[in-house]
């Protein structure tokens, strides 16, 4: 698949989450595992050692445990954690908890704004003086060269002036 055919999206957030208050987007999580099979060892360890800690820290998440005989352990039927260690399962659960709730897609840009331009869309009349409407051309006023920076000649002149002033002051002293 080429880059352009992979579905993409702009960065967004459910309900401006965090503007008012942050709400964890994970509502419920189902852990299915086997009580005896070796492949569920990590899941069983997680349930024994970390599950209560997790539920105490996240009272907003409903956890369902689903013992299924001789089946591979899964998180929400989507993530297979076959033969996974306890730490790995901790990471997957944390991943689910910190999801934004939006689908995972390739991002067009890593930032997004609803107002791309603060000062509005540019058009040829932006910052154009209305006095141009009644001016007659060629006009001396509008033909002048507009200097944005001080020229070297001017800089030297100013320097010379300053030196003169200092000399004058010294002579007075």
């Amino acid at each position: 698949m080429t880059h352009s055919t992979i579905p993409s999206a702009f960065l967004k957030n459910v309900l401006h989450n965090g503007v008012g208050r942050y709400v964890c987007q994970l509502q419920r999580i189902t852990l299915s595992f086997c009580k005896s099979h070796g492949s569920s060892r990590g899941m069983r360890d997680f349930i024994e050692n970390h599950l209560l800690e997790f539920t105490n820290a996240n009272p907003g998440v409903v956890v369902y445990l689903k013992p299924r005989r001789h089946k591979a352990p899964r998180i929400v039927e989507a993530i297979t954690v076959h033969n996974a260690q306890m730490d790995e399962i901790c990471k997957w659960v944390e991943f689910m908890k910190t999801r934004s709730g939006e689908k995972i897609l390739r991002l067009e840009k890593k930032w997004h704004t609803d107002n791309p331009s603060i000062q509005g869309i540019w058009d040829p009349t932006v910052n154009k003086s209305t006095s141009l409407n009644i001016a007659e051309f060629p006009s001396e006023e509008f033909s002048k060269f507009i200097e944005t920076e001080q020229s070297t000649t001017e800089k030297l002149r100013e320097l010379a002036k300053n030196i003169k002033n200092v000399k004058m002051r010294l002579s007075v002293l």
Binding site: G20, Q27, T30, G60, K66, N115, D123, T125, N133
Partner: protein, 355 residues
Amino acid sequence: MATFRCFRTGMLVNSSILTCRNTISKQVVRNANKKPKWLSAYLKEQYNRRLAAGPEPERHPEKFGCWNYDCEIYAFGKRFGEEFNENLLKQAFMFSSYVENERARREDLDINLDTDNISIEDNEQLAIKGGEIAERYIKAFLRHSYPLLFEEGICAIQKYLMSDESLHYVASNLGFKDLIKTMEYPPEDDKYCTAFKAVVGALAESQSVQRAEVFVKDFVLPQLIGKDINEMWEVVNPMGLLNSLLTVLGRGAPEPRLLHQSASQTMMAVYHVGIYSDKELIGRSPGESVTIAEEMAAREALKHLMKTSDYRPPLPIGKQAENIKLDYEKKNISLEQLSQKLLQNSEQRITSGIS
């Protein structure tokens, strides 16, 4: 079974190919990997039946086995950091159709409805209460944020925020879908709206009206981010309104002037009109004809006077809004009051002219 056997023979043949390639004839391999004749017809029939049956109806998670309504209700409150009275919260999600059905079911089971501990009442009263709290708070907040906007504009923004569409969006993203108790699933759009108001009402009864107002502020008001509030209130005659507003403010009448024009004889014609009052530019806008540009410039000038221009500061939502003290009684000036003031002014002028 036939497929399985076929697959197995294929495996055997393949493995034997790897070990002693030269001894197996090509004929055997071809026959071994061949699919049975009936398989393609069978799969085709299955596919057509699936298409004819249509998509699966959306089912409640309860139907899949893992569901505990009490836990879900508990977690719902905790998710937002609010302490709900769980019975009130359950009531907030219950609709009359479900309640009637439940009552009939209990009667069938010969359960006495009067002595029954489990209350079943619908959310109508809670929704009315919550709706009133939300409306009062949103209006007061908007009046505080936009003190110069006309009362009609405030009402229009409030109506937008509390419209079925807007509240449906908020409620569906807050996980109301599976908790709402109606006879149909997924619930209809207006049910989300009622349930949201009822939850606000339940929060006010469980904790306090202030907490309910903070809930509204955190979840409803952010809907205004990135929206044009001036679009929500439709001004029919902007120039007339601008004229009367300037008269009441004691400023000169609005004077539209053509600032720039370009490509006037083409499809891409553009006119820039500026509106002056007392020789001061109060609004300017481009338009595809002079009349459109003039109207848009009048709207710009109104926005400027009501301090709702595009460059206005953002709404104080979140931590900034914690210390705001709202005056619920104060109202902004309405169009009616403006016209009354205008009448008074003209009467005064007439009487002073006669004397």
